[in-house]
């Protein structure tokens, strides 16, 4: 059984002018110890999907349909207190901005100890020892001393390490990492990626890595889901999606990334931009920008279908 199953998830925002569907019919699953990358442009619904899984969807956004199951247990309809026990213990979270994820009024040690004691039976002394171990594990030098420091005394990269320590402090089986390296410099980004990979290997933690940076995905993920306008455009092994994307959108997305050892005079470009939620076209959401669109794409919405190594929601791969 998969660790995490998301089935036909639909997230809506009721507004005065009607209901906006921000995530529409998204399904995927995540195995134990697997890293699933979720990539897409701003507004594609990748962060909303992550927030829905950890039960932190901001109102008025709501799950309108579908199911989220963790180890077979349905978690999308749990009461707040129940979900609070799962969050932190079974699902950890790492967000983009490490400064806003930490409480500026408490030392990082206090924050770690609080989290550890909420979810385990440890005594304060044991929890403190564990907190120091954790800081050392995420690569913070001088952990015994640093445990009593406050968030502002850490640099951006070190803060993100503290946030990761918080996310893994009670050995969750799944970490939702939402743009964990976006706010960091490239050299620090490489360090954080290496850290996440090591944790995943050492503890068998599964990671759902949400990012707009295909490079980060290429380095880290086993499988990748490409999202567009609230839907999964393509999902498959990371190598196949990067090397030979099947969906015209993921193909265009790959071509638009400047590469370091490339002498191309012009980048491939996808004309236009992603539609607003109020203006999602009928049929395939990508059809107005798609160079290969035909009549069926404009009227009928494609589901994920078999496209060789990957699944793509594209009529080009309809068989029969």
């Amino acid at each position: 059984m998969a660790l995490l199953e998301v089935e036909r998830l639909r997230i809506e925002f009721p507004t005065r002018r009607g209901t906006l569907v921000a995530v529409d019919d998204v399904s995927f699953s995540l195995q134990e110890g697997e890293v699933l990358g979720v990539v897409g442009e701003s507004g594609a619904g990748k962060s909303l999907t992550g927030n829905a899984i950890i039960g932190l969807l901001e109102p008025p956004g709501r799950i309108a349909a579908g199911e989220i199951r963790l180890s077979g247990r349905r978690i999308d309809n749990l009461p707040y207190e129940e979900m609070r026990k799962i969050r932190g213990k079974q699902i950890g979270a790492v967000f983009q901005d490490p400064l806003t994820s930490l409480n500026p009024l408490y030392s990082v040690g206090q924050q770690l100890i609080e989290t550890i004691q909420t979810h385990t039976e440890m005594t304060p002394t044991q929890a403190r020892t564990r907190a120091i171990e954790l800081l050392a594990e995420v690569g913070i030098p001088g952990a015994e001393r640093r445990v009593d420091h406050y968030p502002h005394q850490f640099s951006g990269g070190m803060r993100q390490r503290v946030v990761i320590a918080l996310a893994i402090c009670v050995n969750p089986r799944l970490i939702i990492a939402d743009e964990p390296t976006t706010a960091l410099d490239v050299s620090i980004q490489a360090q954080i990626i290496a850290l996440l990979k090591r944790l995943c290997r050492d503890h068998g933690t599964a990671i759902m890595l949400i990012t707009h940076d295909m490079g980060v995905i290429a380095e880290t993920a086993d499988r990748v889901a490409v999202m567009y306008a609230g839907r999964v455009a393509e999902i498959g092994p990371v190598r196949s999606v990067i090397k030979e994307a099947k969906h015209p959108y993921s193909h265009g997305l790959m071509g638009s990334i400047p590469k370091i050892n490339d002498d191309k005079e012009r980048l491939e470009q996808i004309e236009g931009s992603m539609p607003r939620l109020t203006e999602i076209p009928s049929g395939c959401a990508f059809n107005p920008r798609c160079p290969q669109a035909f009549d069926r794409c404009r009227v009928e919405r494609p589901d994920l279908m078999n496209a060789g190594d990957t699944l793509a929601s594209c009529w080009l791969y309809a068989h029969g």
């Binding site: 701003s42 410099d185 050299s187 707009h212 295909m214 990067i242 638009s256 590469k259």
Partner: protein, 344 residues
């Protein structure tokens, strides 16, 4: 008028210091010294006509300060910026600056903050035309704005709209149209695509290249993204703590990096070719620029540092690949060629 083969922009010994001391009273009461942040500290470079020079570096390395110095938003603390034969640091007031101002324009990172939300696009784009009194006739201005909007891939009817009606990429197109409206020769672009999604970034980078070819523009391009820089730039300068670590043609710099910092940066780029290359993330972070390390500022993170690196600041020297490198180890031949990971 300078000759055509002379560089359009020549920067020598450019420095900008910021006083970040506590207020005078606190300093006196607590006996604190003055604190000076050397954001840019002795930079030399030239930009030739029609080429793109890119400056890359991590946050806090001073690259945006250079951009602001070059367009005259900051005055240099020391050094000179010679634009087409005229030293801008020596120019007095607005009136003396005006003829130069028209010829250089800036594109900012955030297209949400750099456009007046209350102005119609036509007003935003025509503002430089009016400010420099390039056209008098209102009909000609309208015509010119339409032409500019078409040039950046928008439509003349978009002039009637307000910035909030556009997406990030389209807003950046409006910024470019505005920058082009005074018919400048030189554009300073400070992270123009960092706030954009990759597919939109590709559109903007392609547009910038097309415009450069059509209009013979010269770019100073500031970015933290090495792949973007590799794509757009002819020459690249790598900055570290207010100084140039290495400067050279983009091709050579990326193929044969010499400075250990350049090699480290190149090594951090995620591997999109999926070659399975093992990367060794370099430890450490950029030090506090208020209190930079002695000698070579990179020495605490450099695997090749010795006593000389810790005490004596390296000056930029021409190396065997035709780039200039500020590194004792490179100069002394202590550093093997090739990737850092293999050498270390």
């Amino acid at each position: 008028m300078a000759e055509m083969h002379a560089p359009l922009v020549k920067v020598a010994g450019l420095s900008r210091y910021f006083d970040v001391s506590a207020p005078w009273l606190n300093r006196v009461l607590d006996g604190q010294p003055r604190l000076i942040l050397k954001a840019v500290d002795g930079l030399d470079f030239e930009i030739n006509r029609g080429e793109t020079l890119a400056l890359v570096g991590e946050s806090g390395c001073g690259k945006s300060t250079v951009a602001r110095l070059v367009v005259g938003l900051y005055r240099p603390s020391a050094g000179s910026i010679v634009f087409d034969g005229v030293d801008m640091a020596g120019l007095g007031g607005r009136a003396e600056m005006a003829p130069i101002r028209r010829r250089l324009q800036m594109i900012f990172q955030d297209p949400f903050a750099s456009l007046n939300p209350r102005g119609r696009v036509s007003a935003i784009v025509s503002e430089p035309i009016r400010a420099f009194r390039l056209l008098d006739d209102e009909r000609l201005i309208v015509e010119r704005v339409g032409q500019l909007l078409r040039q950046v891939g928008l439509s003349p009817v978009d002039g009637e709209k307000y910035p909030h009606e556009f997406s990030g990429g389209q807003r950046q197109r409006i910024s470019i149209a505005r920058a082009l409206s005074s018919q400048p020769e030189f554009l300073v672009c400070d992270e123009p695509t960092s706030a954009l999604d990759v597919s939109v970034q590709a559109q903007i980078l392609n547009l910038m290249k097309d415009l450069q070819r059509q209009l013979g523009l010269t770019y100073l391009f500031i970015s933290h993204n090495l792949a973007v820089v590799r794509h757009i730039a002819d020459r690249v300068g790598v900055m570290y703590l207010g100084r140039l670590a290495e400067l050279g043609p983009a091709k050579t710099l990326f193929a044969l990096p010499r400075h250990p910092y350049t090699r480290m940066l190149l090594d951090t780029i995620p591997d999109l070719d999926m070659t399975g290359r093992q990367r060794t993330p370099v430890a450490g972070e950029v030090p506090n620029p208020i209190n930079p390390p002695t000698g070579c500022a990179f020495h605490p993170r450099c695997p090749f540092a010795n006593d000389r690196c810790r005490s004596e600041r390296p000056e930029p020297k021409l190396n065997d690949t035709g780039s200039t490198t500020a590194c004792h180890a490179v100069e002394e031949g202590r550093l093997p060629a090739g990737p850092l990971t293999q050498a270390a």
